[in-house]
């Protein structure tokens, strides 16, 4: 394990990934300090004005909003949109900071749950073989036959709007890859003599899978998972962008890109006028995904059995 850590830190690509990830983790942890929430629901992006047009970075809170807060007795913790405002006066900076938490939530929850389902189905399928394998793998095939984004979109629409619905949809259509990978590695690992030896000692099937097979076969899945955290966040962002994801005003990077949809082309004569509406959420998504992919890549290099030979 020490060697793994050492390699993670000595490789430039993985070091970049780690630094980026640490940056995002710090943002997520200190979100209430960096961007103190105004209302009870911290994921609701505060508005700096009622203006339909996005406002440039440094835009101060408009007077009528200030009046509302004063009327409600809410303390105004900051009154400048550092990164500008999106369509409808939503503060981009606040959305970025709290959107980091959303991104981690989406990435980690969807990947870990779909990984769990995938491992369960894949390992049972491979270990018991025969008709169990046949049924479970055909089921996997059915799920694989749906185009991922379209399927997730349809399911989210059916379930209704909301981040939890997005996550459910991503899990329902996201476990098949893990099932396939773990099935493949268990199929080969279960032929090893140590499995027979464990059976000959009277170890139960579930325990053989859990204690003897999974520790030998789980690495490819973990790597796949770490790389998928990024793509899950992208897909969730895509769903939000398409309008079936997070509710309006929810701190979510995809939603913020969606706010920018009408302003991406800028104003006549000034294509870059509203650059901040798409640039900030876009760069956060890119860097977040990049961080996970770099780490996943390095993990794969380190844990690949062929490269592990030197251990």
């Amino acid at each position: 394990m020490n060697r793994t850590l050492k390699k993670l830190f000595s490789n430039a690509a993985s070091l970049t990934g780690i630094i980026l990830l640490v940056f995002f983790i710090i943002i997520a942890i200190f979100a209430p300090v960096i961007a103190p929430p105004f209302s009870d629901d911290p994921y609701q992006i505060p508005r700096m004005s009622w203006d339909v047009h996005p406002q440039p970075p440094g835009f101060p809170m408009s007077d009528n909003i200030r009046e509302i807060y004063d009327y409600m007795g809410t303390e105004i913790k900051y009154d400048k949109a550092i990164c500008g405002t999106a369509e409808g006066g939503y503060d981009i900076f606040y959305g970025l900071i709290w959107g980091t938490r959303t991104a981690f939530k989406i990435g980690i929850i969807t990947v870990s749950l779909s990984m769990l389902i995938g491992i369960l189905i894949g390992s049972i399928s491979a270990y018991f073989g025969k008709w169990v394998d046949e049924i479970l793998m055909r089921l996997t095939d059915i799920f694989l036959s749906f185009p991922f984004l379209v399927a997730a979109m349809v399911l989210t629409t059916v379930l209704g709007r909301g981040l939890d619905k997005v996550m459910i949809a991503l899990i329902v259509f996201g476990w098949m890859g893990y099932a396939r990978v773990i099935r493949g590695s268990i199929l080969s690992a279960k032929e090893e003599t140590y499995v027979m030896a464990a059976k000959a000692l009277g170890v139960k099937d579930a325990k053989i899978i859990w204690k003897h097979l999974l520790p030998n076969t789980i690495f490819p899945v973990l790597i796949q998972g770490s790389m998928n955290i990024g793509s899950m966040v992208i897909t969730a962002a895509a769903l939000s962008f398409l309008g079936v994801g997070a509710p309006v005003g929810y701190a979510d990077w995809g939603q913020m890109v969606s706010f920018a949809r009408n302003w991406i082309i800028g104003a006549p004569g000034n294509a870059g006028q509203y650059w901040y509406t798409v640039f900030y959420p876009g760069i956060f998504i890119v860097l977040f995904v990049l961080a996970w992919n770099l780490i996943g890549d390095t993990l794969r290099d380190i844990l690949d059995p062929r490269l592990r030979g030197e251990l």
């Binding site: 170890v203 139960k204 003897h212």
Partner: protein, 338 residues
């Protein structure tokens, strides 16, 4: 001497077939033998003659496409073939344990030696992890592993081949089984380690008064450790007798051939005898006696009718039509000094 005792394990007409796409492979086709309390039975035979499959069939560890289609395995008066998977699980490890050929692959690389030994203890005796670990240290000490307190927390790759096989033995012995099946336990080891492992197994056997089935193709190993021997050929037992009879008075041409093909220091032979031909393809066994194409005693009858296992004398069973001609040959002194 052994006839008035009740056997611990009786295998009667065991048949295990593999249903492959090319046809049915009769890997074990009517194997009979018995093992008595405290004795060691050696099962000898060439590769692919069904030795290991016999062992796996006894423990019911065969997976698709292998299937035991007939016969009985009577262990302590109960037929194991009629047991459910749950009942078998309680027997495996506790009553019957197994030692495997390759200590390199029979230990799980990602689990500590201690965990793997204590696992069976925890399952069968329902004891805590600490107790099981303590017992594991004792077991490792018993099988002659130095500094067991440290070794118990090590992974298989940190142990040498001989030590791994010792750890395997400790695993198999952990629950004091009444029957131990050793499937070529010394084949993957070098000769000096082989001798050590055999010594160890012998002394452990004396201690626990259990029975051992030693499966091997190495007649030297059998001569060292076995009390009685079953010689297998093409899925059948062809000769079954005590060690002395097999080595001094073999009656089956195959046993005969095996014995004359061992290099010997006390005889001056220009060339080592071999058994002509190769092991028959299990998909297309010859008609009649399966050994007939390779047998120099073969007659027309051997090509038509399969002989059955007949009792030549008390405790000596042979599957051959031409015992008389073999006896003559033996008397001629072709096996001098064996």
């Amino acid at each position: 001497m052994i006839n008035n005792r009740k056997p611990l394990l009786e295998v009667k007409d065991l048949k295990t077939y593999f249903f492959t796409e090319d046809g049915v492979v009769k890997a074990v086709d009517g194997v009979d033998f018995e093992v008595y309390q405290g004795e060691t039975l050696g099962i000898v035979g060439e590769s692919a003659c069904g030795k290991s499959v016999t062992a796996f069939s006894i423990m019911k560890l065969l997976d698709y496409p292998g299937k035991t289609v007939g016969g009985e395995v009577i262990f302590k008066g109960e037929n194991l073939l009629e047991k459910t998977e749950d009942e078998m699980r309680r027997i495996r490890g506790k009553e019957i344990a197994m030692i495997f050929q390759e200590p390199m692959t029979a230990l799980n690389p990602v689990l500590t030696v201690g965990f793997q030994i204590s696992e069976a203890l925890m399952i069968h005796f329902k004891i805590s992890k600490e107790e099981a670990m303590k017992k594991s240290v004792e077991l490792l000490k018993k099988v002659g592993i130095p500094i067991p307190e440290q070794r118990v927390n090590e992974y298989p790759h940190q142990l040498s081949g001989g030590m791994r096989q010792r750890a395997m033995i400790a695993m198999a012995m952990s629950c004091d089984p009444s029957l131990l099946i050793a499937d070529e336990p010394t084949t993957a080891l070098d000769v000096t380690i082989q001798a050590q492992i055999l010594d160890l197994m012998r002394s452990l056997l004396k201690d626990f008064n259990g029975s051992l089935i030693m499966i091997t193709h190495d007649l030297g190993v059998i001569a060292e450790i076995a009390d009685r021997i079953a010689v297998m050929y093409a899925g059948k037992v062809v000769e079954h007798a005590d060690k002395k009879t097999i080595f001094h008075n073999p009656l089956h041409p195959y046993t005969f051939g095996l014995l004359t093909s061992i290099p010997r220091l006390d005889l001056e032979l220009k060339r080592l005898d071999t058994i002509p031909g190769i092991v028959p393809d299990p998909l297309h066994f010859p008609v009649g006696c399966k050994f007939n194409p390779r047998c120099r005693f073969a007659t027309d009858r051997c090509k038509e009718e399969e002989p059955c296992l007949v009792k030549v004398e008390e405790g000596h069973l042979v599957r051959c039509w031409n015992i008389e001609s073999v006896i003559k040959e033996v008397k001629k002194g072709l096996l001098v000094g064996v």
